[in-house]
């Protein structure tokens, strides 16, 4: 029996042949002992498989099995903890960051100029936290005034970690 006939016998058993071809196949099988034997074997095997599929049980408890599913669903549905900044915050930062830096530079230049030798004692003094050039302090003892200039928003996030004595109001 060739392979084509073997596969047709199987297709006949599985009801996969068109009606007309199925009737022809039934006649062929009736006339062919090998085809009849093959059909019987395939039928037996199919019957055994369909009727006796192994009864496999999940080897985990309901709660344990469910807990992993629930955890994974929760993880996938959790919103992102780090949110993107709003578009307007990005726009403001783009405008004010360079302007703030420019203003700090101007004040620094003025103060340096005023602190050059020749200026009288008791003149105002200034201090720059070199670890963070974005923070600048101006003190005028005669007027009892201290100004702290911070470039905002901080370019490097340093403002969040300034030592307590740098941001001091007197």
């Amino acid at each position: 029996m060739n392979e084509e006939l073997q596969l047709k016998v199987q297709a006949y058993l599985d009801g996969e042949l068109p009606a007309g071809e199925g009737r022809e196949m039934a006649d062929s099988i009736a006339r062919n002992a090998d085809a009849r034997a093959l059909l019987a074997e395939l039928k037996n095997t199919r019957g055994a498989l369909k009727a006796f599929e192994a009864e496999i049980k999940l080897p985990e408890s309901r709660d344990f099995y469910w807990s992993k599913i629930e955890r994974e669903i929760g993880r996938l549905e959790k919103p992102h903890s780090i949110e993107e900044p709003a578009w307007f915050a990005v726009g403001l930062r783009r405008i004010f960051a360079p302007a703030g830096a420019l203003a700090a530079l101007l004040i620094a230049a003025i103060l340096i100029f005023r602190q050059t030798p020749g200026f009288a004692a008791g003149e105002p003094e200034s201090e720059t936290a070199f670890a963070n050039a974005d923070a600048f302090t101006y003190r005028d003892y005669s007027a009892g005034m201290t100004l702290v200039w911070l470039s905002y928003p901080a370019e490097n996030g340093f403002a969040d970690f300034l030592p307590s004595d740098t941001l001091k109001y007197e």
Partner: protein
């Protein structure tokens, strides 16, 4: 819906509740069908750990796609199809990691099965049901992945050739030939345990 109502509700009611975000209803569906889903994953993968992981992944996917379930088939059929697809993906990944082609090996070995003499005896006669189940399971374990998958899809899931071909991404002719070789190999393996002592 109360816990008691969940346990007494039918699948379609639970599915509707779960589609509206009722996680307890979904948990009830998992509890009802977890054995079948795990069994299907195990029958394809033949590995307990992988079968547990894949079946759980199938439930997570089912939750995510629950809104897409329109009730054209039963919920059990729908979640089983998700499981089968995940298993097939995993088997393809396994195949990529192996140097040899499973398909080539299967077709070569298929030639041997085609030449085997027909097994006349009925393998189900004279055996205890439990023993027979066990022997069938052992015989299935000796088939290649491709041959076992086609047996699982056709005999257990009752899928037609066309549907199997679509699911496995092959031609109907390949499905027919794999199914034929797989059945013949099963007949031979089962006949071994029927031989007189």
């Amino acid at each position: 819906m109360s816990d008691n109502a969940h346990s007494s509700a039918d699948d379609s009611t639970l599915v509707r509740a779960a589609q509206n975000g009722d996680m307890v209803a979904f948990e009830e569906l998992v509890a009802r069908h977890r054995d079948k889903i795990y069994a299907r994953a195990y029958s394809m993968m033949r590995n307990e750990e992988e079968a547990i992981d894949l079946s759980q992944e199938a439930w997570v996917k089912a939750w995510q796609r629950l809104k897409q379930f329109q009730g054209e088939s039963s919920f059990a059929t729908w979640i089983t199809r998700i499981t089968i697809n995940l298993c097939l993906d995993q088997l393809r990944r396994h195949k990529r990691h192996r140097s040899e082609s499973i398909e080539a090996m299967d077709e070569e070995s298929g030639g041997v099965e085609r030449q085997m003499p027909v097994v006349i005896i009925n393998p189900t006669e004279g055996l205890e049901r439990g023993e027979l189940r066990q022997r069938i399971d052992l015989a299935l374990g000796q088939l290649s992945y491709a041959h076992r998958t086609v047996i699982v899809l056709h005999e257990f899931e009752e899928m037609e050739y066309k549907e199997i071909a679509k699911t496995m991404g092959c031609s109907i002719g390949t499905v027919m030939s794999r199914l034929f070789y797989a059945r013949r190999k099963m007949a031979a393996l089962l006949s071994d345990l029927k031989k007189p002592e």
